[in-house]
Structures are given as C-alpha cells and as structure tokens.
C-alpha cells in the first residue's frame, strides 16, 4: 500500500462572537491509497471541519494550530496543504486531486445551470480536456453511476432529478476528475434506506474500479460497517478511538464508542431496552478539562479523567484508544 494522506496534529479553532472555540483538537490519522476510512461522531464532534481542513475549505475565521501538518502524497511528490495560499495554489486540493461530496445534493448543485454544464465546467478547470471531451466523459460518468438516459439527464437541471439521482450525479461529477482522494460528507444521510443501499453499492464498486482513497463521514455505524476498512471515532473535536472496522465494531474499547453501539436500535434484539448515553454533548465553549468525554462517561475514574488528556494506547495491532482505562495510571 502507498501512503496517500498524512494528517498530523490537526488543531482548528474558530473565532466567534462568544469567543474562540476549539473545533478540532490535535487530530492525527493516515490514509493509504484505495483505503476507505469512516469518520464517525455525533453532530458537533468536528468530523466535517476535519475533512474540510484537508481542502482548506473552512471559513475565514478559522485558525489552524502551529503544529498542524497535512500532507497529500501525489505522483510528483508530497503537497503540504497548510502551506498552500490563494485559490490558484489550492486548486490542486479543491477539485483536482481531492473531490468532495456533500450531504444535501440539492443544495450543492447550482439551480440555474444544467447538471451537464456544471460537470463540464469543472473538467475544463481541472483537466486539459476540451469541451467535447469533457462532455463525452461526463455523459459516460453519468451512465457509469447508473443514471439511465444519461444524454438527456446531462441537459437537465438539479430540480428535475430525484434525490437519489442527484446524489448519483454528484458522485459522477466528483469522480470525473479522477481524484486521488474522495471526501464523502454524509452522502447517504438524506436518502431513503432503499436508495442508500443503492448508493453504498455504487460507491463500493467505484472504489474497486478507481482505486482512490475515501474519507467517509457519517454518524451511522451501520453504513460504516458496510463500507469502511478502518474507522476513526471523534468526540468534541478529539479522536478517541481508531482501528480496523471489524476490531472497532466488534470490540469497541472507548466508553463512548461502546455507548454509541449500545444506543443503536438493533433488529436482532427487540427485548433489550435502548441504552442512551447520559447527558448531552457539551457546548464547544465549555469544553471539559482532561478527557473531553468525562462529563458523560459511565467509567469515569475520577481525578485523572478530569485533569489529564488521555493519550492513545494500543488495544490490538492497529487498534488504538485514547482512554485512561487503558493506559498508565488508570489501567487496572
């Protein structure tokens, strides 16, 4: 496997009216080419801003930490994304080597421009194809993602397509530039289950064919189990557990990951009552000291959890967890 992406010590803060808030706190992970990483967490956990950082897409009130280092490894050598300035330099990560699929496909297509024109436009910007080649490739891609009568759809507007069709068109558009890395931000959340199943199948096929790396952001652990090779779990801006998908889902180690899985209504067991995680995710203005999960944690060890940020320790090969239960003084 070849390394595609290194994210080291990613810290991201936003200036708001109420003060500076920390959205992402010292997050590090890597991605190999052809690997699918699921990024899971509740709303407010920082998963979307983490992914957007890789394209430097966060708003102008964003401040990246000094130690933040994000490197994308391309054929011509590594690109230091944090050093890129201005839209011209950033072109390589915004639509060039990296494509992004949003949650709400209706909001991400321009309403007054046909699907086809939007697809052609980005191909003209990011590749050296001419208009005719761009059009041919776009129609071919629409066909590839299972849109029937692609030639007609090419000339239509976003509102003329159904939700599932729009998301397919979005995927076709994102992949037509042959990106090395695809970031999919909740791509199936707005879809019905039967359509979600179709889109997941489609994405699995496309990974095989195109061999790009994918960061799949979702709050749905079932979707992760069916698509990802490895998982990273985030809570309040921190990465708290990561590892191969089978290890994390079958043997969750962090109390938060355990809680997330226990809170899922399972169809196999209708008798056990649902177990919520007590309390609510704290406001980013009131980030707890020590371990960010300590206010809701049922395994709270007391002082150490409120005083000290837990470091990662290894559960099994490649499966790491940041919790005092598993390292140093807190370990039993």
């Amino acid at each position: 496997m070849t390394r595609l992406l290194d994210v080291e010590n990613l810290t991201l803060q936003f200036d708001t009216d109420e003060g500076r808030i920390t959205a992402v706190d010292d997050v590090s992970f890597t991605l190999e080419a052809g690997e699918v990483m699921g990024l899971v967490g509740e709303s407010g956990s920082g998963k979307s801003v983490t992914a957007k950082s890789i394209m430097k897409l966060n708003a102008s009130n964003a401040h990246y930490g000094e130690k933040t280092n994000v490197k994308l490894h391309l054929e011509d050598g590594p690109v230091d994304i944090m050093a890129l300035r201005g839209s011209k330099e950033l072109k390589v990560v915004r639509g060039g080597a990296i494509s992004l699929i949003f949650q709400e496909p209706m909001a991400s297509f321009a309403p007054a421009i046909t699907i086809g024109d939007q697809m052609v436009e980005q191909l003209m910007i990011h590749t050296d194809m001419n208009a005719k080649q761009s059009k041919e490739l776009s129609i071919e891609m629409l066909d590839r993602v299972g849109i029937s009568d692609a030639g007609t759809r090419f000339k239509q507007y976003a509102f003329e397509l159904s939700g599932g069709m729009r998301q397919r068109a979005m995927i076709a558009m994102a992949l037509s530039t042959k990106p090395k890395l695809l970031i999919a931000d909740e791509p199936t959340t707005a879809l019905d289950v039967t359509i979600q199943a179709q889109v997941i199948d489609l994405m699995k096929d496309l990974v095989k064919d195109f061999g790009m790396g994918i960061i799949f952001i979702t709050h749905d652990l079932g979707v992760i189990a069916q698509t990802a090779d490895k998982v990273a779990v985030m809570y309040l801006g921190r990465l708290i557990e990561q590892g191969p998908v089978r290890d994390v889902i079958r043997n969750p180690s962090h109390p938060y990951t355990k809680g997330l899985i226990a809170a899922l209504p399972s169809l196999d067991d209708l008798d056990t009552p649902l177990t919520p995680i007590p309390g609510d995710i704290p406001s980013p203005l009131e980030r707890p000291m020590g371990c960010v999960f300590n206010t809701r944690c049922s395994a709270n060890l007391g002082e150490i959890c409120t005083a000290k940020i837990p470091q990662f320790s290894s559960v099994t090969q490649g499966h790491n967890v940041a919790c005092h239960l598993y390292n140093g003084e807190g370990a039993k």
């Binding site: 079932g222 089978r246 899922l264 209504p265 169809l267 609510d280």
Partner: protein, 332 residues
Amino acid sequence: MKDDVLIKARDLSVHYPLSGGGLFGEKPVVKAVEGINLDIAKGSFFGLVGESGSGKTTLGRACLKAAPITRGSVEYNDEDVTYELTTMDKSEENDYRKRSQLIFQDPYAALSPRMTVRDIIAEPLEVMGLTSSREETDERVREIAAKCRLNLEHLRRFPHAFSGGQRQRISIARALVSRPHFVVADESVAALDVSIQADVLNLLKEIQQEMGLTFLFISHDLSVVAHVCDHVAVMYLGRLVETAPTRELFAAPRHPYTKALLSAIPSLDPDDPKVAQKLEGEIPSPTNPPPGCKFQTRCPFATDICRIDEPKLEHSSTGHEVACHHWQSLMD
C-alpha cells in the same frame, strides 16, 4: 372490541389539486393518501413507516384533521366523546384540538426563539383556555416539565441555550401539557444523534405508559419503530401495503416492499452474508402512479396481474394484513 379503537379510518383519502389541466373536465390531483383503512387501538404505540413520498405525514395529519380529507371517514372515540372528523362542527373541532396533539420533527424549527421555555410550554394551555389562573398554568407546566426531565432552571431560559435532545423534550412537554389522548409524533427522533435518540425514545415510551396515551409514531427508520411500537403499518405511494403486530411483522414480513426495506438497513456486522434484496429505481411520482399494484415498477416478483389489478389488504386472524397478489407463494 370496538371500544378499544381510538382512531378508526375507513377508505380515508387525501387528494391535493394540481395546477394545470383544462378548463373543462377533471382537474388533475395528487392522491397523497388513497383508500386507507386503519384501526389504532387505545393505548397503543402505532408505527407508520415508509419512504419519503409515501404519504405517511399526510395520513398522520389527516388523523388530526390537519389535512383536508377528500373521501372516507375518520372516527375518534375516547371514553368521553366520539367524533367523526369529516362532519364535526366548530366546537367539536376545538375540543378535538385539546384531545389530539402533534410533535414535530425538527426541534430547532418548532420552538419560537423569542419565548422562554415556560411560555412555550404554557402557550397551548392559554390558547385553549384550559387553566383559569397563572398559578394553575405554572403548576401544569412544572408538572409536565418534570415528566420530561426539564428542571425549573430550564423553564426560565430560551430555546437557543438547549441541545437537540433537550429541545425535543421541550417540544414533547408542549404537546403533552394539554393532556391529550392521541399524539402524532412525526419523525420525532430523526433529527437527533443516536446517543440522544435512545433517550427521547425511552422518554416517549415511559410517558405513553404513564399517561395512557395513544401514539401514532411516524418514522422512516424501521429499527427505531421495531423498538418502540407495538403495531406497525407500512405505506407505499399513499397505500397501506402491510400492517401487523411489530414482532410478527419483523419476524415474518409478507410484502416484498417490507422485505426490501428490512434488508436495506445496513448491518453492523461488516461480514454480514445477508444477500440484500436490493430494490431497483425509486418511488414513482404520486402525480403519475403506475396502474395496478403501486409497487409493481420496483417489485422483482411482479407478474401480469400486478400490472392490472390493485391488490386489497387481506385480513388474517393474527391481525397481520398484507396487500400483495403473491405474498403466499413468496413465503415458501
């Protein structure tokens, strides 16, 4: 037996006129809900599932007389009164508003940002004139707030200070403060994170049992419905296709659509060998529904009879009803 039914819908249809059509002849209509027979037993937690566009919200609203009923009847019958929704007069309608309530999907949009939580919860009491003094109102508000796990401190604050789960608890308190008998919960947990969702579901269930309420719980999420409801109805394109006691439905689904919905839920097991019965295509537009069985365009088992003849709901002694020409042969 008859006395156990709170809501009894017969041939219930809701049609919305479409713009266009000739000056003469029939105006085109969307048949959002068509010919539905439904009994909701007193004290039950009745689930209504289907994809977007299946008409579940419209059906829920018709049961509250919040959608125009085009044809058929809905009878409401609690221990004190019996109303026929299609023929009731103004004073009966006012009384019915107190006996029935709706909980909305989005707790961010449903609460006025300019009112304190106390005023939000008290508003229905004041509007309906259910209390005679401010003290009495406060008493009722405190009582229901405590049931919904909101404390006195919360009542003085404004909604923006609350998280999604807390806001949904405020919405629930507001809906229940008038002591309704019948509550329609429309996708009430869809906007919540899983860790919070479990908490709100447990709360709804608790309150339902404590206050002896009857719930119509509308959701697109089958695993949620499986956990809280005792009876489930599945809708497709404005029709009921299957209804059964929850366990019966999930253990032995009969309609191909129900089976497909169940198999489309992504499994938490990455190695799940389950051969998903994938549905092709999407739900057809209700402005132009297919002839015969509405599901025939996506059904892998459709034959000639399905394209001509619309199947009726077949009753059975176990209370399991299904509208499919072939369900029996498909069970083998």
